[in-house]
Each structure stands twice: as C-alpha cells, then as structure tokens.
Symmetry: C2
DNA sequence: TCTTAAAAGATAGCGGTGTTATGTCATACT
DNA sequence: AGTATGACATAACACCGCTATCTTTTAAGA
C-alpha cells in the first residue's frame, strides 16, 4: 500500500553532477548515462526524479535563475539610482560569465538536445527584472530619467546588456571593441538614452565601476 | 589518372534541403540520414561534399550571412542618416525573423550538435557591420551624433538590436513589452544615447518606420 | 580508343544518445 | 505479517554522427 520513497540525496546529486558537467565540459557532456554513472546509479533515476533529461535541464535552469536573483540581491541601493542601474547591468553580466554554458539555455533562443523553455520557465526569468524596474522608478523620481514606463526602461536595459553578454559569450567581441569597452559605452548610452545628461551619466557609470570592483571583486573572466 | 567529379547539383541539393529542414522543423530535424534520404543519396555525400555535418551547417551559416548582407544592401542612403541607422536595425531584425532557426546558430553562443563557429566564420559576420559603421560616420558628420569612434557606435547598435532579436526569438518579450514596442523605444534610446536630441531622434525613428513599412513591406511575423 | 587510377557514392557497422519495457526489490501501510 | 506500490537495474529500441569497406563511375594519359 505504500511505495518505496525516492532518495532526495540522489536527486540533489543528479542536479549537482549535471551542473558540474555543464559548467566544466559544456552541453555535450550532459547525458543520462554519464550523469547516472557519476552518481553511482542508473539512467532510470533521471526519469523517476525528473521525467527525463529535459526535466533535469529545467532544474538547472531554475538554479540559474536563483543565482541571478542572488546576484541582483547583492546590488545595494544608494542615493545615486543611475549608478545602481549600471551596477545591475554589471551584476547581470557577471552572472552570465560565471555560468557561460547555462546562460544561453536560460535566455538564448537555444535548445539543448530538444530542451525548450516553457512559458512558466520564462516567467521565472522575467521575475528577476523587478529589481531593475524599481531602480528605473527611482531614476525617474530623482529626475535623472525622463518620465516613462518603468517596465519599458528596464526592458531596454535588459535587451542591451543581454545583447552584449550574448555576443561576448559567442566570442564576437574582439579588439578594439572588447566586451569591457562595449559595456562602459553601452551603459553610458543607455542612461543618456533614458534621459540623463552625458556628464551625469558618465559620472554615475564610473562610480558604479568603482563600486562594483570594490564590492564584488574583479569580474570573472572566462 | 583522373577521379570522378562530384556532382555540384548534389551539393546544392544538400544545402537546400538542410536549409529547408532547419527553417521548417528546427535544428532537431537536421541529420545526415534525413538529408541524404530526401536528396536521394546516402549519408556519405555529406562527408564528400562538406566533410561532415559541421561543414554543412557552416555552409548554411554562410548563406545566412549572405542574406543579411543582401538585406542591408536594400537599405537606401537618404539625407537623414539617423533614420538610415534605424532602418539598418529594422533590416537586421527582419533578417533574423525570416531565419529564426539559423540566426541563433550564426550569432548565438549556441552550438548545434557540436557545431561551433570558427574565428573566420565570425569575421564574416562582423563584416556585415561595415554598412552600419559608415552610417554612424554620416550621423556624426551631420552633427546628429556626438563625435565618437564609429566602430563603437555601430557595436552599440548591434548589441542592442541583437539583444532584442535574441530575446524575441526566445519568446521572452510579451505584452505590454512586445518586441515591436521595445524596438521603437530601443531605437529612439540608441539615437539619443549616441547624441541626438529626443525630438530629432523620435522623428527620425518614426520616419524610418514609415519608410521601412513602405519599401520593405510588412515585417514577417513568425 | 582503351586502360587505369582515383574519387564518388552505397552499405554496413561502431559507439554514442534519449527513452522505454520489463523485472527485482525495498518499504510503509493495512 | 503480508502486500501493494513505486524506486531502481537491466536490457533493448530507434536514432544520431561518423568511418571502414566496397563497388561504381569518370576523365586523363598512353
């Protein structure tokens, strides 16, 4: 009348091993057989716990969203909301560079071995934007940005930084237009485009650079 | 002393069939066996002509770059360089939406069944930016953009539009921040960020919208 | 024109993938 | 204590990219 309980340790081990393989060796290293072997179990474990490889990938995607949320949570609110906004951009990039193989699965149009995001998955991703939306609101309140719909302002920042990070991960950004150089120009342009003055935007982005280097440590390079 | 010549018709047929499968059914439909079967030949043809599946994918990527180049070539040079710049952004997006499965392989960090871009491949992609670089120069000459390095200005536009297109293809842009709405806001923000006034930027982007709808026809929706 | 070398292409196989059918066994409730 | 039920192991299926092997075709040289 009562079944055998599944081992939660096995479940966690599968996710951890999958994440490690994805991180260290890339998407091609992900296979039910290899993960099961490293976990000391059989491929069936992947199906009982996750319903298949897609379910396991989905679990790693959710872990990726949690990491992005944590990264955003480390951004402190200061009296310079524009510098804060720039810092969110840096934090977003930092998370992507720390998880270079996971990021394209989360936000790229990419399908990994048939895996495809569901609308619910994407909603988890969009949820992380809320911090940026609030920050955009503070920029408008402080008269640094012109009056606008905060969601759209946040989206513009997201699109711009996502584009940079995406092409950076694809090795498309080379000298003299390196990702570092593009990021600074991109952030300043975003702030000016949102309504800030060139002088104030340049200053706040520079402030955020110093603050980010101090609080977060040097950005991890791949 | 002379070998049998390979049939160029077979080669073209393989590329065409591969492109059709990728376009209609997505990356999972691409397989040597299926392509060979539809071409009425064997899987070996893929290896004699392209050295493997990767070579065939590379051929399709180059075809994608040619299409982007052709799309850019249709952008006419007018006396409003800022409107021209916006039109390049629309053309870029149009090409991506017309080839939704090919685009992420060309510019996404994505690897399709182990396929990875070479530095030479990426150089072909970057080459298409030259039109935009020239256009940025005209914007600066016309005093619409502030003095800046034209390559960096072009990169900022590329990154921003790529980010939009990339997330649009990933179905991340939904009401009320649809890709259409984001594009208009993004383009205006870009022009202002590059130095244009809010008034002039809004006008030129609107001009480019009308021109694009007229010259290019309605944008293809997926 | 005939010979022949060399590459094209067909066939079959290898090792790999995700997934599933089947069988065994541990477990928690009646 | 007995039993039903789901976790897990094993093995197989259909597919993948790729390659070794073989046959066939072709065009250059004699």
């Amino acid at each position: 009348m009562s079944p055998r309980r599944s081992d939660p340790k096995t479940r966690d081990a599968l996710v951890d091993i999958g994440a490690r393989l994805l991180s260290l060796e890339g998407p091609d290293a992900l296979s039910t057989r290899r993960i099961a072997a490293e976990a000391g179990t059989s491929t069936m474990a992947v199906y009982t716990h996750f319903g298949g490889m897609n379910g396991l990938v989905r679990e790693m995607v959710y872990e990726g969203f949690r990491r992005l949320r944590d990264e955003f949570a480390r951004v402190t609110v200061t009296d310079d909301p524009v510098a804060d906004a720039a810092t969110y951009g840096r934090a977003y990039r930092r998370n992507a560079l720390a998880n270079p193989h996971l990021y394209p699965i989360m936000f790229g149009g990419t399908r990994l071995a048939g895996f495809e995001l569901t609308e619910e998955d994407r909603q988890h991703g969009r949820y992380n934007l809320l911090d940026v939306v609030n920050c955009a609101g503070r920029c408008i309140e402080a008269k640094r940005f012109r009056a606008a719909e905060t969601g759209m302002v946040a989206h513009q920042m997201w699109l711009a930084v996502h584009g940079l990070v995406s092409l950076e991960l694809g090795d498309y950004l080379i000298e003299p237009w390196t990702a570092d150089a593009c990021l600074e120009a991109q952030l300043v342009g975003l702030m000016i485009g949102a309504g800030d003055t060139e002088r104030a935007a340049t200053h706040s982005v520079a402030v955020s650079a110093k603050r980010f280097a101090g609080e977060f440590g040097a950005i991890a390079t791949v």
